[in-house]
Protein backbone atom coordinates (compact mmCIF):
# COMPACT_ATOMS: atom_id res chain seq x y z
CA UNK A 1 0.00 0.00 0.00
CA UNK A 2 1.29 3.47 -0.87
CA UNK A 3 2.20 5.72 2.02
CA UNK A 4 -0.22 8.62 2.42
CA UNK A 5 1.24 11.94 1.30
CA UNK A 6 -0.79 13.72 3.96
CA UNK A 7 -1.71 11.91 7.16
CA UNK A 8 -3.63 13.78 9.81
CA UNK A 9 -4.63 12.32 13.16
CA UNK A 10 -6.89 14.15 15.57
CA UNK A 11 -5.30 17.59 15.15
CA UNK A 12 -6.70 20.60 16.94
CA UNK A 13 -6.04 24.33 16.87
CA UNK A 14 -7.41 27.22 18.91
CA UNK A 15 -7.21 30.98 18.49
CA UNK A 16 -7.16 31.97 22.13
CA UNK A 17 -10.25 30.39 23.65
CA UNK A 18 -11.85 29.75 20.27
CA UNK A 19 -11.36 26.16 19.16
CA UNK A 20 -11.12 26.42 15.37
CA UNK A 21 -10.18 22.82 14.51
CA UNK A 22 -11.53 20.11 16.82
CA UNK A 23 -9.62 16.92 16.34
CA UNK A 24 -9.90 16.10 12.66
CA UNK A 25 -8.34 13.08 10.93
CA UNK A 26 -7.90 12.24 7.26
CA UNK A 27 -5.39 11.06 4.69
CA UNK A 28 -4.56 12.08 1.13
CA UNK A 29 -2.81 9.64 -1.18
CA UNK A 30 -0.33 10.62 -3.93
CA UNK A 31 -2.26 11.64 -7.05
CA UNK A 32 -5.47 12.14 -5.10
CA UNK A 33 -7.44 15.37 -4.81
CA UNK A 34 -9.22 15.78 -1.50
CA UNK A 35 -11.73 18.60 -1.49
CA UNK A 36 -12.22 20.31 1.84
CA UNK A 37 -15.72 21.64 1.63
CA UNK A 38 -17.13 24.00 4.21
CA UNK A 39 -18.33 27.54 4.81
CA UNK A 40 -16.09 30.43 5.82
CA UNK A 41 -14.76 29.97 9.34
CA UNK A 42 -15.25 26.20 9.29
CA UNK A 43 -11.54 25.52 9.87
CA UNK A 44 -10.37 24.81 6.31
CA UNK A 45 -7.67 27.48 6.10
CA UNK A 46 -6.50 26.83 9.67
CA UNK A 47 -6.00 23.17 8.75
CA UNK A 48 -3.87 24.21 5.76
CA UNK A 49 -1.87 26.60 7.96
CA UNK A 50 -1.10 23.73 10.33
CA UNK A 51 -0.15 21.33 7.56
CA UNK A 52 2.10 23.86 5.82
CA UNK A 53 3.98 24.57 9.03
CA UNK A 54 2.73 28.12 9.49
CA UNK A 55 1.39 27.21 12.90
CA UNK A 56 1.82 24.24 15.19
CA UNK A 57 -1.25 22.18 16.11
CA UNK A 58 -2.35 22.40 19.72
CA UNK A 59 -3.02 18.67 19.72
CA UNK A 60 -2.87 15.54 17.60
CA UNK A 61 -0.25 14.83 14.98
CA UNK A 62 0.16 15.14 11.24
CA UNK A 63 2.68 13.95 8.72
CA UNK A 64 3.54 15.30 5.30
CA UNK A 65 5.45 12.85 3.10
CA UNK A 66 6.19 10.79 6.19
CA UNK A 67 7.66 13.65 8.24
CA UNK A 68 6.05 15.19 11.30
CA UNK A 69 4.88 18.71 10.47
CA UNK A 70 6.18 20.13 13.75
CA UNK A 71 9.77 19.39 12.69
CA UNK A 72 9.67 22.34 10.26
CA UNK A 73 11.95 20.40 7.92
CA UNK A 74 13.17 22.52 4.95
CA UNK A 75 13.53 19.33 2.88
CA UNK A 76 9.82 18.66 3.29
CA UNK A 77 8.93 22.32 2.76
CA UNK A 78 10.82 22.07 -0.52
CA UNK A 79 8.40 19.35 -1.67
CA UNK A 80 5.15 21.17 -0.98
CA UNK A 81 3.40 23.91 -2.92
CA UNK A 82 0.92 26.34 -1.42
CA UNK A 83 -1.60 28.56 -3.12
CA UNK A 84 -2.96 31.03 -0.61
CA UNK A 85 -6.43 32.49 -0.68
CA UNK A 86 -4.81 35.93 -0.26
CA UNK A 87 -2.93 37.14 -3.37
CA UNK A 88 0.47 37.47 -1.72
CA UNK A 89 2.78 38.21 -4.64
CA UNK A 90 5.60 40.73 -4.98
CA UNK A 91 3.68 43.36 -6.89
CA UNK A 92 6.77 45.40 -7.80
CA UNK A 93 8.33 42.39 -9.48
CA UNK A 94 7.38 40.84 -12.79
CA UNK A 95 5.74 37.43 -12.98
CA UNK A 96 9.00 35.88 -14.12
CA UNK A 97 10.97 37.61 -11.36
CA UNK A 98 8.47 36.30 -8.80
CA UNK A 99 8.81 32.74 -10.04
CA UNK A 100 12.60 32.91 -10.43
CA UNK A 101 12.96 34.27 -6.90
CA UNK A 102 10.85 31.54 -5.33
CA UNK A 103 12.54 28.91 -7.48
CA UNK A 104 15.89 30.09 -6.10
CA UNK A 105 14.59 29.60 -2.54
CA UNK A 106 13.79 26.01 -3.45
CA UNK A 107 17.30 25.59 -4.80
CA UNK A 108 16.12 25.25 -8.41
CA UNK A 109 19.00 26.41 -10.59
CA UNK A 110 17.37 26.84 -14.00
CA UNK A 111 13.65 27.21 -13.41
CA UNK A 112 11.46 26.96 -16.45
CA UNK A 113 9.40 29.91 -15.33
CA UNK A 114 8.17 30.76 -18.80
CA UNK A 115 6.84 27.24 -19.34
CA UNK A 116 4.96 27.39 -16.05
CA UNK A 117 3.56 30.79 -16.97
CA UNK A 118 2.57 29.41 -20.35
CA UNK A 119 0.57 26.67 -18.62
CA UNK A 120 -1.51 29.30 -16.85
CA UNK A 121 -1.71 31.59 -19.88
CA UNK A 122 0.62 34.32 -18.62
CA UNK A 123 3.71 33.78 -20.78
CA UNK A 124 3.04 36.87 -22.90
CA UNK A 125 2.87 39.05 -19.74
CA UNK A 126 5.87 37.42 -18.05
CA UNK A 127 7.93 40.60 -17.93
CA UNK A 128 5.13 42.88 -16.74
CA UNK A 129 5.01 43.86 -13.10
CA UNK A 130 2.37 41.91 -11.20
CA UNK A 131 0.76 45.12 -9.97
CA UNK A 132 -0.48 45.68 -13.52
CA UNK A 133 -2.29 42.30 -13.49
CA UNK A 134 -6.04 41.78 -13.15
CA UNK A 135 -7.46 39.74 -10.29
CA UNK A 136 -7.76 36.66 -12.48
CA UNK A 137 -4.19 36.99 -13.73
CA UNK A 138 -2.89 37.33 -10.18
CA UNK A 139 -4.78 34.17 -9.21
CA UNK A 140 -3.21 32.29 -12.13
CA UNK A 141 0.12 33.66 -10.99
CA UNK A 142 -0.55 32.30 -7.49
CA UNK A 143 -1.22 28.88 -8.95
CA UNK A 144 1.92 28.98 -11.06
CA UNK A 145 4.01 29.90 -8.02
CA UNK A 146 2.61 26.87 -6.17
CA UNK A 147 3.80 24.70 -9.06
CA UNK A 148 7.31 26.14 -9.35
CA UNK A 149 8.96 23.30 -7.42
CA UNK A 150 6.92 20.48 -8.99
CA UNK A 151 5.52 19.70 -5.52
CA UNK A 152 4.59 16.26 -4.26
CA UNK A 153 1.91 17.83 -2.07
CA UNK A 154 -0.21 20.79 -3.11
CA UNK A 155 -2.28 22.90 -0.75
CA UNK A 156 -4.76 25.03 -2.63
CA UNK A 157 -6.83 27.44 -0.56
CA UNK A 158 -9.86 28.63 -2.52
CA UNK A 159 -7.91 28.63 -5.81
CA UNK A 160 -10.77 29.91 -7.96
CA UNK A 161 -12.50 32.20 -5.47
CA UNK A 162 -14.13 35.13 -7.22
CA UNK A 163 -12.87 34.27 -10.69
CA UNK A 164 -14.78 34.23 -13.94
CA UNK A 165 -15.90 30.82 -15.28
CA UNK A 166 -13.26 30.71 -18.05
CA UNK A 167 -10.36 31.41 -15.68
CA UNK A 168 -11.77 28.97 -13.14
CA UNK A 169 -12.01 26.22 -15.73
CA UNK A 170 -8.43 26.88 -16.81
CA UNK A 171 -7.18 26.67 -13.23
CA UNK A 172 -9.15 23.47 -12.57
CA UNK A 173 -7.60 21.87 -15.63
CA UNK A 174 -4.13 22.75 -14.36
CA UNK A 175 -4.90 21.28 -10.93
CA UNK A 176 -6.01 18.04 -12.57
CA UNK A 177 -2.73 17.92 -14.49
CA UNK A 178 -0.80 18.21 -11.24
CA UNK A 179 -2.77 15.37 -9.65
CA UNK A 180 -2.24 13.27 -12.77
CA UNK A 181 1.49 13.88 -12.37
CA UNK A 182 1.23 12.29 -8.91
CA UNK A 183 0.84 15.26 -6.57
CA UNK A 184 -1.44 14.86 -3.58
CA UNK A 185 -3.80 17.82 -3.58
CA UNK A 186 -5.66 19.26 -0.60
CA UNK A 187 -8.16 21.70 -2.00
CA UNK A 188 -10.27 23.93 0.19
CA UNK A 189 -13.33 25.49 -1.32
CA UNK A 190 -16.85 26.48 -0.59
CA UNK A 191 -17.75 25.99 -4.24
CA UNK A 192 -19.67 22.71 -4.46
CA UNK A 193 -19.31 22.48 -8.24
CA UNK A 194 -15.56 22.86 -8.03
CA UNK A 195 -15.33 20.24 -5.31
CA UNK A 196 -17.56 17.89 -7.26
CA UNK A 197 -15.64 18.33 -10.51
CA UNK A 198 -12.12 18.13 -9.08
CA UNK A 199 -12.19 15.97 -6.02
CA UNK A 200 -11.61 12.25 -5.82
CA UNK A 201 -12.97 12.54 -2.30
CA UNK A 202 -14.54 15.39 -0.40
CA UNK A 203 -14.51 16.12 3.30
CA UNK A 204 -17.31 18.19 4.74
CA UNK A 205 -15.92 20.38 7.49
CA UNK A 206 -18.17 22.41 9.71
CA UNK A 207 -17.36 24.22 12.93
CA UNK A 208 -13.92 22.61 13.09
CA UNK A 209 -15.17 19.04 12.66
CA UNK A 210 -15.20 16.72 9.63
CA UNK A 211 -18.80 15.59 9.42
CA UNK A 212 -18.36 13.35 6.37
CA UNK A 213 -15.57 12.21 4.09
CA UNK A 214 -16.06 10.09 0.97
CA UNK A 215 -16.20 10.25 -2.80
CA UNK A 216 -18.78 12.69 -4.16
CA UNK A 217 -20.70 9.80 -5.70
CA UNK A 218 -20.85 7.84 -2.46
CA UNK A 219 -21.97 10.90 -0.54
CA UNK A 220 -24.72 11.53 -3.04
CA UNK A 221 -25.81 7.91 -2.92
CA UNK A 222 -25.66 7.77 0.83
CA UNK A 223 -27.18 11.09 1.76
CA UNK A 224 -28.83 12.44 -1.37
CA UNK A 225 -32.44 11.97 -2.52
CA UNK A 226 -32.96 11.26 -6.20
CA UNK A 227 -36.00 12.61 -8.02
CA UNK A 228 -37.52 13.13 -11.47
CA UNK A 229 -38.83 16.47 -12.60
CA UNK A 230 -41.62 16.29 -15.21
CA UNK A 231 -43.01 19.24 -17.15
CA UNK A 232 -46.51 18.72 -18.65
CA UNK A 233 -48.77 20.78 -20.83
CA UNK A 234 -51.62 22.14 -18.78
CA UNK A 235 -54.19 23.65 -21.16
CA UNK A 236 -52.50 26.75 -22.51
CA UNK A 237 -49.86 26.68 -19.71
CA UNK A 238 -47.18 24.33 -18.33
CA UNK A 239 -47.15 22.55 -14.99
CA UNK A 240 -44.21 20.90 -13.25
CA UNK A 241 -44.24 17.81 -11.03
CA UNK A 242 -41.37 16.33 -8.98
CA UNK A 243 -41.43 12.62 -8.08
CA UNK A 244 -39.01 11.20 -5.48
CA UNK A 245 -37.38 7.96 -6.65
CA UNK A 246 -36.36 6.50 -3.33
CA UNK A 247 -39.81 5.54 -1.94
CA UNK A 248 -41.80 2.28 -2.47
CA UNK A 249 -44.53 4.29 -4.19
CA UNK A 250 -42.16 5.96 -6.65
CA UNK A 251 -43.05 3.72 -9.63
CA UNK A 252 -46.80 4.08 -9.25
CA UNK A 253 -46.55 7.80 -8.64
CA UNK A 254 -44.32 8.31 -11.68
CA UNK A 255 -46.73 6.35 -13.91
CA UNK A 256 -49.63 8.42 -12.61
CA UNK A 257 -47.94 11.75 -13.27
CA UNK A 258 -46.74 10.79 -16.74
CA UNK A 259 -50.23 9.61 -17.65
CA UNK A 260 -51.90 12.77 -16.44
CA UNK A 261 -51.11 14.88 -19.49
CA UNK A 262 -48.84 15.64 -22.43
CA UNK A 263 -45.23 15.30 -21.20
CA UNK A 264 -42.97 18.10 -22.40
CA UNK A 265 -39.72 17.20 -20.60
CA UNK A 266 -38.48 14.66 -18.03
CA UNK A 267 -35.24 15.24 -16.08
CA UNK A 268 -33.64 13.10 -13.44
CA UNK A 269 -32.27 15.10 -10.56
CA UNK A 270 -29.72 14.11 -7.92
CA UNK A 271 -28.76 15.91 -4.75
CA UNK A 272 -25.86 18.34 -4.96
CA UNK A 273 -23.01 18.34 -2.46
CA UNK A 274 -24.45 21.55 -1.08
CA UNK A 275 -27.83 19.88 -0.55
CA UNK A 276 -26.10 17.10 1.35
CA UNK A 277 -24.00 19.58 3.32
CA UNK A 278 -27.10 21.50 4.34
CA UNK A 279 -28.85 18.27 5.20
CA UNK A 280 -25.94 17.19 7.42
CA UNK A 281 -25.05 20.48 9.09
CA UNK A 282 -28.12 22.61 8.85
CA UNK A 283 -26.18 25.45 7.21
CA UNK A 284 -25.13 26.42 3.69
CA UNK A 285 -21.63 26.47 2.20
CA UNK A 286 -21.51 30.20 1.64
CA UNK A 287 -21.24 32.59 4.54
Amino acid sequence: MTEAAIKVEDITYAYGDLLAVKGISFEVQPGEILGFLGPNGAGKSTTIKMLTGQVAPKGGRAQILGADITLDDPDIQARIGVCFEEKNLYLAMSAKENLDFFASLYGIKDPDSLEILRRVGLADRAKDRVKTYSKGMRQRMMISRAFINKPDVLFLDEPTDGLDPVTSASIRATIKEEAARGAAVLLTTHDMFEADELSDRVAFINDGVIVAIDTPENLKLKYGKRSVKIRLRNGSGVREETVALDTPQSGELLKEVVGSGEVLTIHTEEATLEDIFIQMTGRGLVG
Binding site: Q54, V55, Q77, N88, S104, Y106
Partner: protein, 354 residues
Protein backbone atom coordinates in the same frame (compact mmCIF):
# COMPACT_ATOMS: atom_id res chain seq x y z
CA UNK B 1 20.07 28.49 8.72
CA UNK B 2 20.88 28.61 5.01
CA UNK B 3 23.24 31.39 3.93
CA UNK B 4 22.23 30.82 0.31
CA UNK B 5 18.53 31.45 0.98
CA UNK B 6 19.41 34.43 3.16
CA UNK B 7 21.43 36.03 0.38
CA UNK B 8 18.65 35.31 -2.14
CA UNK B 9 16.26 37.30 0.06
CA UNK B 10 18.83 40.04 0.56
CA UNK B 11 19.45 40.26 -3.18
CA UNK B 12 15.71 40.49 -3.80
CA UNK B 13 15.41 43.29 -1.21
CA UNK B 14 18.33 45.19 -2.71
CA UNK B 15 16.80 44.84 -6.17
CA UNK B 16 13.39 46.02 -4.94
CA UNK B 17 14.92 48.82 -2.86
CA UNK B 18 15.05 51.50 -5.54
CA UNK B 19 11.34 50.87 -6.16
CA UNK B 20 10.54 51.73 -2.52
CA UNK B 21 10.02 55.36 -1.43
CA UNK B 22 11.36 54.65 2.07
CA UNK B 23 14.56 53.18 0.63
CA UNK B 24 15.06 56.26 -1.53
CA UNK B 25 14.25 58.54 1.38
CA UNK B 26 16.93 56.80 3.46
CA UNK B 27 19.47 57.55 0.73
CA UNK B 28 18.47 61.13 0.05
CA UNK B 29 17.86 62.36 3.61
CA UNK B 30 21.47 62.31 4.95
CA UNK B 31 22.74 64.03 1.81
CA UNK B 32 20.00 66.64 2.00
CA UNK B 33 20.63 67.23 5.71
CA UNK B 34 24.35 67.58 5.10
CA UNK B 35 23.72 70.07 2.36
CA UNK B 36 21.26 72.12 4.42
CA UNK B 37 23.42 72.18 7.54
CA UNK B 38 26.60 72.94 5.66
CA UNK B 39 24.96 75.79 3.81
CA UNK B 40 23.56 77.11 7.10
CA UNK B 41 26.84 76.89 8.99
CA UNK B 42 29.06 77.66 6.09
CA UNK B 43 31.83 75.12 6.28
CA UNK B 44 31.21 73.26 3.05
CA UNK B 45 30.59 76.22 0.78
CA UNK B 46 32.45 78.97 2.66
CA UNK B 47 34.81 80.22 -0.01
CA UNK B 48 38.31 81.34 0.95
CA UNK B 49 39.09 85.07 0.71
CA UNK B 50 40.40 85.73 -2.82
CA UNK B 51 43.40 87.99 -3.20
CA UNK B 52 44.99 89.10 -6.49
CA UNK B 53 48.55 90.42 -6.56
CA UNK B 54 50.61 92.29 -9.14
CA UNK B 55 54.18 91.82 -8.00
CA UNK B 56 56.68 93.94 -9.91
CA UNK B 57 59.69 92.99 -7.79
CA UNK B 58 59.47 89.43 -6.38
CA UNK B 59 58.21 90.58 -2.96
CA UNK B 60 58.34 88.34 0.12
CA UNK B 61 54.70 89.22 0.66
CA UNK B 62 53.68 87.30 -2.46
CA UNK B 63 55.73 84.31 -1.35
CA UNK B 64 54.08 84.39 2.08
CA UNK B 65 50.58 84.67 0.59
CA UNK B 66 51.32 81.63 -1.56
CA UNK B 67 52.00 79.57 1.56
CA UNK B 68 48.71 80.47 3.23
CA UNK B 69 46.05 77.76 2.95
CA UNK B 70 43.30 80.13 3.99
CA UNK B 71 43.70 82.54 1.08
CA UNK B 72 43.13 81.94 -2.59
CA UNK B 73 45.89 83.81 -4.42
CA UNK B 74 45.96 84.92 -8.05
CA UNK B 75 49.10 86.58 -9.45
CA UNK B 76 48.40 88.99 -12.30
CA UNK B 77 50.70 90.87 -14.71
CA UNK B 78 49.30 94.38 -14.75
CA UNK B 79 47.52 96.75 -12.34
CA UNK B 80 44.84 97.28 -15.02
CA UNK B 81 44.00 93.58 -15.11
CA UNK B 82 43.93 93.55 -11.28
CA UNK B 83 41.50 96.48 -11.06
CA UNK B 84 39.31 94.87 -13.70
CA UNK B 85 39.06 91.64 -11.70
CA UNK B 86 38.34 93.45 -8.42
CA UNK B 87 35.59 95.47 -10.10
CA UNK B 88 34.11 92.32 -11.56
CA UNK B 89 34.20 90.70 -8.07
CA UNK B 90 36.38 87.91 -9.46
CA UNK B 91 38.59 88.55 -6.43
CA UNK B 92 37.84 90.17 -3.06
CA UNK B 93 40.92 92.39 -3.00
CA UNK B 94 43.88 93.31 -5.15
CA UNK B 95 47.38 94.33 -4.08
CA UNK B 96 49.98 96.10 -6.24
CA UNK B 97 53.53 95.59 -4.99
CA UNK B 98 55.90 97.99 -6.84
CA UNK B 99 59.49 97.09 -7.66
CA UNK B 100 61.74 97.58 -4.58
CA UNK B 101 58.81 97.60 -2.17
CA UNK B 102 60.40 95.22 0.36
CA UNK B 103 63.66 97.21 0.42
CA UNK B 104 61.77 100.46 0.85
CA UNK B 105 59.86 99.03 3.83
CA UNK B 106 63.03 97.75 5.45
CA UNK B 107 64.75 101.12 5.05
CA UNK B 108 61.80 102.88 6.73
CA UNK B 109 60.69 104.86 3.66
CA UNK B 110 56.98 104.13 4.17
CA UNK B 111 56.27 103.46 0.45
CA UNK B 112 52.76 103.66 -1.00
CA UNK B 113 50.90 100.32 -1.05
CA UNK B 114 47.86 100.14 -3.31
CA UNK B 115 45.11 97.81 -1.96
CA UNK B 116 41.90 97.59 -3.99
CA UNK B 117 38.79 96.18 -2.31
CA UNK B 118 35.78 94.78 -4.17
CA UNK B 119 32.56 96.51 -3.21
CA UNK B 120 30.61 93.24 -3.34
CA UNK B 121 33.08 91.24 -1.28
CA UNK B 122 32.16 89.94 2.17
CA UNK B 123 33.15 92.19 5.07
CA UNK B 124 34.80 89.24 6.77
CA UNK B 125 36.96 88.59 3.71
CA UNK B 126 37.96 92.29 3.43
CA UNK B 127 38.96 92.29 7.10
CA UNK B 128 40.97 89.08 6.75
CA UNK B 129 42.82 90.30 3.66
CA UNK B 130 43.54 93.77 5.09
CA UNK B 131 44.87 92.47 8.40
CA UNK B 132 46.87 89.75 6.67
CA UNK B 133 48.45 92.31 4.36
CA UNK B 134 49.47 94.57 7.26
CA UNK B 135 50.89 91.58 9.17
CA UNK B 136 52.95 90.55 6.15
CA UNK B 137 54.27 94.09 5.68
CA UNK B 138 55.31 94.08 9.34
CA UNK B 139 57.10 90.76 8.78
CA UNK B 140 59.01 92.30 5.88
CA UNK B 141 59.87 95.27 8.06
CA UNK B 142 61.14 92.82 10.73
CA UNK B 143 59.57 94.59 13.70
CA UNK B 144 57.58 93.12 16.58
CA UNK B 145 53.87 94.02 16.97
CA UNK B 146 53.44 97.18 19.03
CA UNK B 147 51.05 95.45 21.49
CA UNK B 148 50.66 92.14 23.34
CA UNK B 149 47.35 90.48 22.55
CA UNK B 150 45.50 88.45 25.18
CA UNK B 151 42.94 86.11 23.60
CA UNK B 152 39.86 85.14 25.61
CA UNK B 153 37.22 82.72 24.28
CA UNK B 154 33.53 83.26 24.95
CA UNK B 155 30.87 80.62 24.36
CA UNK B 156 31.70 76.95 23.85
CA UNK B 157 35.35 76.28 23.47
CA UNK B 158 36.32 73.46 21.18
CA UNK B 159 34.51 72.26 18.09
CA UNK B 160 32.36 74.49 15.94
CA UNK B 161 28.63 73.87 15.68
CA UNK B 162 28.98 72.51 12.15
CA UNK B 163 31.18 69.70 13.50
CA UNK B 164 28.95 69.06 16.50
CA UNK B 165 26.08 68.57 14.06
CA UNK B 166 27.84 65.60 12.48
CA UNK B 167 26.30 63.12 15.00
CA UNK B 168 22.82 64.44 14.13
CA UNK B 169 23.35 63.69 10.45
CA UNK B 170 25.02 60.40 11.33
CA UNK B 171 22.01 59.34 13.39
CA UNK B 172 19.75 60.03 10.44
CA UNK B 173 22.06 58.16 8.08
CA UNK B 174 22.35 55.20 10.44
CA UNK B 175 18.87 54.87 11.80
CA UNK B 176 16.80 55.76 8.76
CA UNK B 177 18.79 53.35 6.60
CA UNK B 178 19.72 50.86 9.28
CA UNK B 179 16.54 50.68 11.31
CA UNK B 180 13.73 52.16 9.26
CA UNK B 181 14.47 50.41 5.95
CA UNK B 182 14.58 46.84 7.32
CA UNK B 183 11.61 47.39 9.63
CA UNK B 184 9.48 48.84 6.85
CA UNK B 185 10.60 46.08 4.49
CA UNK B 186 9.54 43.45 7.03
CA UNK B 187 6.23 45.16 7.73
CA UNK B 188 5.57 45.43 4.00
CA UNK B 189 6.14 41.68 3.65
CA UNK B 190 3.66 41.11 6.47
CA UNK B 191 1.04 43.44 5.03
CA UNK B 192 1.32 42.01 1.52
CA UNK B 193 1.30 38.44 2.80
CA UNK B 194 4.58 37.68 1.06
CA UNK B 195 6.13 36.77 4.42
CA UNK B 196 3.62 33.91 4.67
CA UNK B 197 4.59 32.83 1.16
CA UNK B 198 8.24 32.81 2.19
CA UNK B 199 7.57 30.86 5.37
CA UNK B 200 5.81 27.98 3.61
CA UNK B 201 8.84 27.60 1.34
CA UNK B 202 12.06 26.16 2.80
CA UNK B 203 12.87 29.64 4.15
CA UNK B 204 12.90 30.01 7.94
CA UNK B 205 11.79 33.14 9.78
CA UNK B 206 15.32 33.59 11.15
CA UNK B 207 16.69 33.70 7.58
CA UNK B 208 14.23 36.43 6.64
CA UNK B 209 15.14 38.47 9.73
CA UNK B 210 18.89 38.13 9.20
CA UNK B 211 18.50 39.08 5.52
CA UNK B 212 16.57 42.20 6.52
CA UNK B 213 19.17 43.04 9.15
CA UNK B 214 21.91 42.69 6.54
CA UNK B 215 19.97 44.98 4.23
CA UNK B 216 19.86 47.62 6.97
CA UNK B 217 23.51 47.13 7.88
CA UNK B 218 24.76 47.50 4.31
CA UNK B 219 22.62 50.52 3.55
CA UNK B 220 23.43 52.20 6.88
CA UNK B 221 27.16 51.59 6.40
CA UNK B 222 27.15 53.11 2.92
CA UNK B 223 25.09 56.10 4.02
CA UNK B 224 27.10 56.71 7.20
CA UNK B 225 30.41 56.47 5.36
CA UNK B 226 29.24 58.78 2.59
CA UNK B 227 27.95 61.25 5.18
CA UNK B 228 31.33 61.33 6.90
CA UNK B 229 33.07 61.84 3.56
CA UNK B 230 30.76 64.74 2.76
CA UNK B 231 31.45 66.24 6.18
CA UNK B 232 35.17 65.72 5.79
CA UNK B 233 35.20 63.73 9.05
CA UNK B 234 37.12 60.55 8.34
CA UNK B 235 39.55 60.76 11.26
CA UNK B 236 43.02 59.31 10.96
CA UNK B 237 42.41 55.57 11.33
CA UNK B 238 40.40 54.26 8.38
CA UNK B 239 40.24 50.62 9.55
CA UNK B 240 38.99 51.54 13.01
CA UNK B 241 36.51 53.93 11.42
CA UNK B 242 35.18 51.17 9.15
CA UNK B 243 34.88 48.88 12.17
CA UNK B 244 32.89 51.34 14.25
CA UNK B 245 30.62 52.28 11.34
CA UNK B 246 29.94 48.61 10.54
CA UNK B 247 29.17 47.99 14.18
CA UNK B 248 26.87 51.01 14.52
CA UNK B 249 25.12 49.98 11.29
CA UNK B 250 24.55 46.45 12.58
CA UNK B 251 23.34 47.86 15.90
CA UNK B 252 20.80 50.09 14.18
CA UNK B 253 19.67 47.14 12.03
CA UNK B 254 19.04 45.11 15.19
CA UNK B 255 16.84 47.95 16.47
CA UNK B 256 15.10 47.94 13.09
CA UNK B 257 14.32 44.24 13.36
CA UNK B 258 12.89 44.78 16.85
CA UNK B 259 10.61 47.49 15.46
CA UNK B 260 9.75 45.42 12.36
CA UNK B 261 8.83 42.29 14.31
CA UNK B 262 6.90 44.26 16.94
CA UNK B 263 4.86 46.30 14.46
CA UNK B 264 1.74 44.67 13.11
CA UNK B 265 1.36 47.02 10.17
CA UNK B 266 2.68 50.29 8.73
CA UNK B 267 0.54 52.41 11.05
CA UNK B 268 1.83 50.70 14.18
CA UNK B 269 5.39 50.81 12.80
CA UNK B 270 5.23 54.58 12.30
CA UNK B 271 3.76 54.93 15.79
CA UNK B 272 6.65 52.90 17.20
CA UNK B 273 9.23 54.89 15.23
CA UNK B 274 7.69 58.19 16.32
CA UNK B 275 7.36 57.00 19.90
CA UNK B 276 10.91 55.74 20.12
CA UNK B 277 12.41 58.54 18.00
CA UNK B 278 13.15 60.86 20.91
CA UNK B 279 14.62 57.96 22.84
CA UNK B 280 16.83 56.96 19.87
CA UNK B 281 17.95 60.44 18.92
CA UNK B 282 18.36 61.92 22.41
CA UNK B 283 22.13 61.25 22.67
CA UNK B 284 22.99 63.53 19.73
CA UNK B 285 21.62 66.53 21.61
CA UNK B 286 24.46 66.13 24.10
CA UNK B 287 27.02 66.61 21.32
CA UNK B 288 25.29 69.83 20.34
CA UNK B 289 25.23 71.09 23.91
CA UNK B 290 28.49 70.06 25.54
CA UNK B 291 27.65 72.05 28.65
CA UNK B 292 24.86 69.56 29.48
CA UNK B 293 25.76 66.73 31.91
CA UNK B 294 27.25 64.24 29.46
CA UNK B 295 26.57 61.20 31.64
CA UNK B 296 22.86 61.46 30.81
CA UNK B 297 23.64 60.64 27.16
CA UNK B 298 25.04 57.29 28.28
CA UNK B 299 21.61 56.24 29.55
CA UNK B 300 20.39 55.95 25.96
CA UNK B 301 21.31 52.74 24.08
CA UNK B 302 22.08 54.52 20.81
CA UNK B 303 24.80 56.57 22.52
CA UNK B 304 26.99 53.46 22.61
CA UNK B 305 26.73 53.05 18.86
CA UNK B 306 27.13 56.68 17.83
CA UNK B 307 29.86 57.67 20.28
CA UNK B 308 32.57 55.42 18.78
CA UNK B 309 31.99 57.09 15.40
CA UNK B 310 32.27 60.51 17.02
CA UNK B 311 35.45 59.53 18.82
CA UNK B 312 37.16 58.03 15.77
CA UNK B 313 35.83 60.13 12.90
CA UNK B 314 35.69 63.56 14.51
CA UNK B 315 38.12 63.43 17.42
CA UNK B 316 40.59 61.19 15.61
CA UNK B 317 40.88 58.67 18.45
CA UNK B 318 41.67 54.98 18.12
CA UNK B 319 40.28 51.63 19.18
CA UNK B 320 41.64 52.02 22.71
CA UNK B 321 39.25 54.94 23.23
CA UNK B 322 36.13 53.18 21.98
CA UNK B 323 36.36 49.53 22.98
CA UNK B 324 34.18 50.05 26.06
CA UNK B 325 31.49 51.62 23.87
CA UNK B 326 31.68 48.68 21.50
CA UNK B 327 31.40 46.13 24.32
CA UNK B 328 28.40 47.91 25.85
CA UNK B 329 26.61 48.15 22.50
CA UNK B 330 27.38 44.48 21.83
CA UNK B 331 25.80 43.65 25.19
CA UNK B 332 22.69 45.66 24.31
CA UNK B 333 22.43 43.97 20.90
CA UNK B 334 22.82 40.50 22.43
CA UNK B 335 20.14 41.32 25.00
CA UNK B 336 17.80 42.22 22.12
CA UNK B 337 18.24 38.85 20.36
CA UNK B 338 15.87 36.92 22.68
CA UNK B 339 13.44 39.85 22.45
CA UNK B 340 13.49 39.46 18.67
CA UNK B 341 12.91 35.71 19.11
CA UNK B 342 9.80 36.31 21.20
CA UNK B 343 8.52 39.04 18.86
CA UNK B 344 9.18 36.82 15.84
CA UNK B 345 7.09 33.98 17.26
CA UNK B 346 4.32 36.43 18.11
CA UNK B 347 4.58 37.86 14.59
CA UNK B 348 4.06 34.40 13.08
CA UNK B 349 1.05 33.75 15.32
CA UNK B 350 -0.48 37.06 14.26
CA UNK B 351 0.15 36.25 10.59
CA UNK B 352 -1.68 32.95 10.94
CA UNK B 353 -4.59 34.46 12.82
CA UNK B 354 -5.26 37.00 10.05
Amino acid sequence: MSLTRMFKILRKDLALGPRSPIFLWAIILPFALTLILQVAFGSLFAAKPRMAVVDEGASEITASLRKMDGIELTVLDTPEELKKQVKANDVDAGLVLPRGFDDAVRSGEKPLLELYIGGESLSSNRLILSVTTLDLVREVEGTAPPVDVRIENFGNEGLPVSVRLVPVIMMYALFIAGAFVPSSSLVEEKENGTLSALLVSPVKASEVLVAKALLGTILAFVMAFMTLVLNNALGGQPLVLVLVIVWASAFSAVLGIVIGTAAKDSASMFTLVKGSGIFLFAPVAFYLFPEWPQWIAKLFPTFWAIDPIWQVAVLGKGLDAVWVDLVVSLGIALALVPVIGVLSRRMQRVLVAE
